[in-house]
């Protein structure tokens, strides 16, 4: 097994077919990378959403608690 091209330029040019080959590979790898990284993005989004919910919940609780204190008979 041997490298088929004489130089890097020949490898990139591929006798005029380089543009097609590299475009195909580039788009494919970009699409595959997007597919592979998408779950990570989703995880982060869910994490943020859960944190937001937790903040809202704790704020609601503290408001309720202070209101209960205000209305408490002395």
């Amino acid at each position: 097994m041997q490298f088929q091209f004489d130089s890097l330029t020949a490898f990139l040019y591929m006798d005029g077919h380089g543009i097609f080959v590299w475009a195909a590979y580039g788009v494919t790898f970009a699409a595959l990378a997007a597919v592979a990284l998408y779950p990570r993005l989703q995880r982060r989004r869910l994490q943020r959403e859960l944190e937001r919910q937790r903040r809202i919940e704790s704020r609601r609780r503290s408001v309720q608690a202070s209101r209960a204190r205000e209305t408490e008979p002395a």
């Binding site: 041997q2 088929q4 091209f5 006798d15 077919h17 195909a24 998408y38």
Partner: protein, 254 residues
């Protein structure tokens, strides 16, 4: 009990826990195989006598097309399992398979078009193989669109599964399209029953890429399924535990 594994399989939590250990290995295998296969195919495989260097697109075109088709079976079968046994997890797999299938079909179509220009002189022809692949793409897109079209998730699941099952008709048409109709597309070069019409020096990098794409498919399908599980079950205590970074106990499947 004989049926216990089957019920366990339907449990999102069980699936999530079981697959955690597989993920890094599947990721590593797919990166190594696709990396090695690409370098091999792009730089070291010999030039094709008729098509020159443009044929090197085969190393991504064929694996992507393989999995675009195999992925449809996975989507349709998990839809059917969900309909018959009312298995929640199965519908989640179906939705994940729809996303991956759409991307892989797009890759197959795009690389095919780019390959067509230097070899056939045109990016696109309305021949049987290409048109039926385009229909496959629309079927995947249709399932994705349907999955977002209902406010109730269970209704969307059933609608998607039905569309996926009806669309299965298209699969044998795609396989046989190069034999049934006159076409520009070359017939299959890899055959399981007889001698393949491809030289070993080109076949081994292709085989590496195909196995790599299968690993990548398994990895991303499981990864997407896991994220969708967390989204669906976010109210449950085990998901909240996962999101806090705590380890799950080997509790009952639930």
């Amino acid at each position: 009990m004989a049926w216990q594994w089957f019920h366990r399989l339907g449990s999102p939590r069980w699936f999530y826990q079981k697959t955690s250990a597989w993920m890094p290995w599947l990721a590593l295998a797919s990166l190594l195989l696709i990396g090695a296969g690409s370098i091999w195919g792009l730089g070291f495989a010999p030039e094709d006598a008729k098509q020159g260097n443009s044929y090197r697109i085969i190393y991504i075109h064929v694996p992507a097309a393989f999995l675009a088709l195999a992925g449809y079976y996975i989507m349709a079968i998990s839809g059917a399992i969900g309909l018959i046994w009312k298995m929640k997890l199965s519908f989640v797999v179906m939705r994940a398979a729809a996303t991956l299938g759409a991307v892989l079909t797009f890759i197959a179509l795009f690389t095919g078009a780019v390959w067509g220009k230097p070899t056939w002189g045109t990016y696109w022809v309305w021949d049987a193989r290409i048109t039926s692949m385009l229909i496959l793409f629309f079927l995947y897109i249709g399932v994705i669109a349907l999955s977002h079209a209902f406010s109730r998730e269970q209704v969307a699941d059933k609608a998607c599964a039905l569309l996926a099952l009806v669309g299965t008709v298209n699969i044998p048409i795609i396989y046989k399209s190069v034999d049934w109709w006159f076409t520009l597309h070359q017939p299959a070069t890899i055959k399981f029953t007889q001698q393949s019409s491809i030289d070993p020096s080109m076949f081994y990098p292709l085989l590496t890429m195909i196995i790599g794409f299968y690993c990548l498919y398994a990895w991303t399908l499981i990864a997407h399924t896991r994220e969708k599980i967390l989204q669906r079950e976010w109210r449950t205590s085990w998901v909240q535990q996962v999101m806090r970074g705590e380890s799950l106990s080997e509790g009952k499947a639930g």
